[in-house]
Subunit: 374 residues, 2 copies
């Protein structure tokens, strides 16, 4: 026995010294155990807040932890602890340029918490269903769903049914059966509309988003409320249907510009449609913003690429996705230890980003060189 140890020890030391496996720093659970005069197992128990440890022992361990500045090794923990938490991030419009922000938030947060994140793209909500089922059966515990997927109630129900967790990122409305992070679409649209009104505009056109996404309706309502609160006449002719696509934005803008008198400002429900509106304005030889103000929503890359750059509403997409990831982690942990806490929902703050596409209306139609007020 003694011999065996003698042989083993130097060997081990040599390995250690070279530091081929581990630099030299980072105390391990074993170091703590030695310091506290107990076994690694007991240390593990204390650290994980399990019961069945004498108060005295616990204190010794905690003192040792503090003294050695021990912090558990994440990799080892998740390796030993059985399965790693796996969550899927699904999206069905890969063209969305806010995807990069979306990914930054999710992947960063996932890495921080040692969560495996799978990025899945799919055609639409219908096609997503079998995919979700497969993933859930394959061990995925949570799903992050951006719009428009998160507006499909039956998809959300399917996730609950499969005993997984769905978090909607930026849905128009939360239904209470699942978690959600969003901005207040209503208030944001209200603010933007009020901003345009404050600039002096009275005829403000609005292009609605995809009717299948609840957010579209909320943005429309925000616009309407601001118009009414300002005492302006709410005219149906100023509101046209779009579908969030560039092309639908072109059609909507053409319709609005053919009105007589034409609106002096157009608020499109997203940036792609706003960009399309700018294009149509240019085709009609209208200068933006001197002849007409155009505003968007979302602050995607498109908004700051085109000329003039769009005044728009910025969603804190990164923070929203990060929140979604931690929410899933929290809920799963709770579930593992039996308790079934209810999923929560939250609103994060948005910002109105003022760029170059808005200005006060030119009073005289022909004088199109009115300097934009800063």
């Amino acid at each position: 026995m003694g011999f065996a140890m003698d042989v083993r020890d130097p060997d081990k030391k040599a390995t250690r010294k070279r530091g081929s496996r581990r630099g030299n720093s980072a105390p391990t659970i074993g170091d703590v155990a030695r310091e506290a005069g107990c076994s690694p197992m007991t240390v593990s128990r204390v650290i994980n807040g399990e019961g069945n440890v004498r108060e005295e022992t616990r204190e010794q361990v905690l003192a040792a932890v503090k003294k050695l500045k021990y912090s558990p090794n994440r990799a080892a923990r998740s390796l030993a602890g059985g399965e790693q938490l796996r969550i899927a991030l699904m999206f069905d419009n890969p063209s969305a340029s806010y995807l990069s922000e979306f990914l930054m938030g999710a992947l960063e947060e996932a890495a921080r918490n040692d969560i495996h994140l799978e990025v899945q793209s799919c055609e639409d909500a219908v096609q997503a269903r079998p995919l979700v089922r497969k993933l859930a059966e394959g061990g995925i515990r949570g799903f992050i769903l951006p719009p428009p997927l998160c507006d499909d109630q039956s998809l959300l129900d399917l996730v609950s049914e499969l005993d997984a967790i769905a978090i909607a990122v930026g849905p128009g409305k939360a239904t209470g059966t699942h978690g959600a992070v969003m901005i207040d679409d209503f208030q944001a649209a209200y603010d933007m509309t009020k901003h345009i009104i404050d600039l002096g505009h009275k005829r403000i056109g609005f292009i609605i988003g995809n009717p299948e996404q609840v957010a579209s309706g909320r943005r429309l309502n925000g616009y309407r409320a601001a118009i009414e609160d300002a005492g302006l006449e709410p005219l149906d002719e100023l509101i046209v249907q779009g579908r969030f696509t560039y092309r639908s934005g072109m059609a909507g803008a053409e319709k609005l510009l053919s009105l007589d008198p034409r609106p002096t400002a157009i608020f499109a429900s997203n940036d792609d449609m706003a960009a399309a509106t700018v294009a149509v304005c240019h085709r009609n030889h209208l200068d933006v913003p001197n002849d007409i103000t155009v505003c968007g929503f979302d602050d995607t890359a498109m908004a700051s690429t085109i000329w003039p750059e769009l005044t728009t509403i910025r969603q804190p997409i990164r923070e929203m996705t990060a929140w979604a990831v931690t929410a899933i982690a929290r809920i799963t942990r709770a579930r593992r230890s039996g308790e079934r806490l209810k999923v929560d929902q939250t609103h994060l703050p948005y910002t109105l980003v003022r760029r170059e596409s808005d200005a006060a209306p030119s009073l005289v139609r022909s004088s199109s060189n009115g300097a934009k007020p800063k």
Copy 2:
């Protein structure tokens, strides 16, 4: 003996079955080894791109990986492998809409290999220098540099000097002192130009990219070579300078459209400028593609957002970034074990994506309804 086995075996199976440690899914390196008919070690070698594996074996392993959809367990990897590799992804034009693809590739691959990736934005190459120094001193071992950062030779030299690894993603030209993944910009521009020529165009305008990026010159040369090879007259008036921005694209397009006779096609060095060109054409009441063909380069989100959608060259940005990440990982590993293998460079295949912005030239100027040939 037989008894002992009888006792032990079911026990083990039971443990497995309950899946207390491992769910049941996730194939391990051992499963792959069994499938490929070799040892786990060999699989490990293949996965980490180490040398000393017979080509035949490598292929078998790769096939097994694919078949089983194996993906290495990050926790185990970093637990066994010592310290975590840290690399930085720097970029200086956050507006680039290909950023999302870029990030997808990098972050996904980084997560897969349990590499800590820091995303850093900076103003320009000059400003990047102190930042690189600080990061390298802080333990960053590799830098991923998209254009235009990767075209700054002194920045690349700085990285080598600091004993870190630089991989250029999509530079115009590789200098041999650093790693690089790219497409053949010359050949791609040549192919696109030839495509336009084959459509029947003879006066083809070209908008050059940012002169500070070497890729711009390569694309220009590709255009020139195709023009000459087709026996068309190379006219300087058809080539205008741009800077890869939407706005510079507008200026360039305006200049080209003011020529008499105007070109029947315009090939812009990137999608943003091509989109701007389409906008300018529309402003001049020219239909795309019936009155004029417009082609882009890069296949960013912009290309498929606007109407008409752009015919363009797709770079496999995601794959390129992923390659960059694994290259850094491979080289670092090699360095750790002493050997100093030279950094390598590779070309990845591009594709010409045909959409709706190109057509044969309309022979009679007024008849603008020429059907687009399929």
